[in-house]
C-alpha cells in the first residue's frame, strides 16, 4: 500500500502526473493480476488492462482514501470480469454467482489434491493462486479480496452484495477447504 502519501499521490495523478500514476499502478497491478488469475484466469492480463483504462477515465472524479481506492479498483475489475463472461457465454447472465466455476474448469489438473501436491512441491504465488482458484467461486473471491486486495470484511460484503456474516462464512469455509487439501496431500504443521 502507498500509505501516508496516498492522498498526495492520488492528487498528483489526478492532475496528470505520470510518476504519481506509476506509483498507483505499480502498487495495485500485482494484486489486481493475482485476483484476476483466480476469477478470470484465461484473460487476466487483458482484463487488468481494461480495468486500468477504465480507472484512468474516472480518475479525475474519484474521491476517497486508499481503502476506497482499492475497493474501486477491484469493483471495476470485477465488472470487467462479468462483462467478459457475458461476452464469452453469448447469453445474458444475471450475476457472477450464476456463472459456473470457470476458474476451476479452466485449470485442468489443478483441482484438490493435485493442486495441493503442486503447492507442496513449490509453494510459490502461482501455486497458491491455483489452489485458491480450485475453491468454489465465492470462497475463492472472498479470500483473494481479503488477502490480496487488502479489503476488510465489510468492504468485501458490499462489493459482492452479500452480508458481512456470509462473507465471513465463505472465508472460513474456503480456508478450511484449503487446509483440507493440504491435509489430504499429507501436509501437517
Amino acid at each position: 500500500m502507498i500509505g501516508e502519501h496516498f492522498e498526495a499521490v492520488l492528487a498528483a495523478a489526478q492532475r496528470g502526473s505520470e510518476a504519481a500514476f506509476a506509483e498507483l499502478w505499480h502498487d495495485g497491478n500485482p494484486a489486481l493480476l493475482r485476483y484476476l488469475r483466480v476469477t478470470a484466469p484465461e484473460a487476466a492480463e487483458d482484463i487488468a488492462a481494461e480495468t486500468w483504462a477504465q480507472v484512468v477515465r474516472g480518475l479525475a472524479r474519484f474521491r476517497g482514501n486508499e481503502q476506497n481506492w482499492r475497493a474501486w479498483l477491484f469493483t471495476t475489475a470485477r465488472r470487467r470480469v462479468a462483462d467478459q463472461m457475458r461476452h464469452q457465454a453469448r447469453r445474458p447472465v444475471t450475476s457472477l454467482e450464476a456463472l459456473p466455476e470457470l476458474a476451476t474448469a479452466e485449470l485442468p489438473g489443478l483441482r484438490g489434491p493435485d493442486a495441493a501436491t503442486l503447492a507442496l512441491e513449490n509453494l510459490d504465488t502461482r501455486a497458491a493462486i491455483a489452489l485458491v482458484a480450485s475453491l468454489p467461486r465465492l470462497q475463492a473471491e472472498v479470500i483473494m479480496l481479503r488477502v490480496v486486495a487488502g479489503l476488510d470484511n465489510e468492504t468485501v460484503a458490499q462489493l459482492l452484495g452479500r452480508s458481512p456474516g456470509a462473507i465471513r462464512i465463505a472465508a472460513h469455509r474456503g480456508l478450511r477447504r484449503l487446509a483440507g487439501m493440504l491435509a489430504e496431500a499429507g501436509v501437517t504443521r
Binding site: 506509476a22 494484486a31 486500468w52 474516472g58 481503502q67 456470509a166 484449503l178
Partner: protein, 278 residues
Amino acid sequence: MTGRGVPDDEMLYFPWRTRPQVRGLDALLSGNYEPEDAPAGLRPVTDILAALQAPPDASEFGGWSQALAAFRETPRRPSTSHHRPRSRRPIVVTTLLTARLAAAAAAVAAAAVGGGAAAAYTGSLPAALQKVAHEVIAAPDVRTARPTPTPASRPAGPDVTGSAAHGVCTAYRHAEMHGNAIQRAAAFRDLVTAAGGEAAVPAYCRSLPRPGAGAARGRAPGRPGWPGFMHHGRPSPADMTSPADVNLGTPGVAPSWASGWGPTTGSGQGNGGRGDNW
C-alpha cells in the same frame, strides 16, 4: 474487526461462535497474525496466504506501458485552478501529431497518384516522420511524450544510495505538493534519472529506507510479504464521492459507496493543506 454489526440471525449460522475465533480469522485474512493466533485447523494455510502475498515479480508489471498509454490518452477535466492545466498538453501534442501524420499520409497518397513525384516524396518521408517525432519528443514539458528508459539502460545518475536517494524522493513529493512548475520538473527529472526510468520510480522510492516512517505505515511486524498493497491498515474515515460510472451494480445493494464509507469527520488533513497552485 469483530462480529459486531452482524445481525443475530446470521450469527445463528456461524460455524464458529466466539469472538476470539472471529478475531483469529480476521487476523489471518488481513495478514496481521502470529501463527499461533490462527484458528485451530487453519494453521497449515498460513503458508498459502503468505505465498498469495509474496512480493511481485517482473511478470506482474508487464502491462505498464499499456496503462501509461491509456493514462496519456485520457482527457482530463479542466482544473478548478485558474492556471492552464498541464495535462492539456499531451492531448494537444497527440492531436498535432495525428494531424501531421494524416497530412503526411495524404501527401503520400497524392504522390502515388501523381506518378513521377512518388519516388521523390517517399524517399523523404522517413526523415519527415522522424522530424515530427523528434519535435514531439523534444517538447519542453518533461512529463509528456518522453520515451521511458528501460531499467536496463539505467544511467549512472546521482548518488542513489541511502539518504541522498531518499532525499530525491522527498524532494519530488514536496515539489509535487508545493512546488512551481520548474521545481516540479527539476525534481521529477532528477528522480527519473536516479531511478533509471519513469517506470522504475515507484519501486525505486519504495525501496529506499524511510527513517521513522515504518511504524506509521501500519505494516504487520515480522511478515515475510511484500511491503505493498496487501498490508493495509484500517480504513481511515474520509469522504467518498463515487465517480458517476462507479456503482456496485448488484441488485439489492445500495449503489452508493456512501452507505459504507459515508461522510464523516476527521478528513481535515486533506485539501486544506495543499497549495492549489496547479
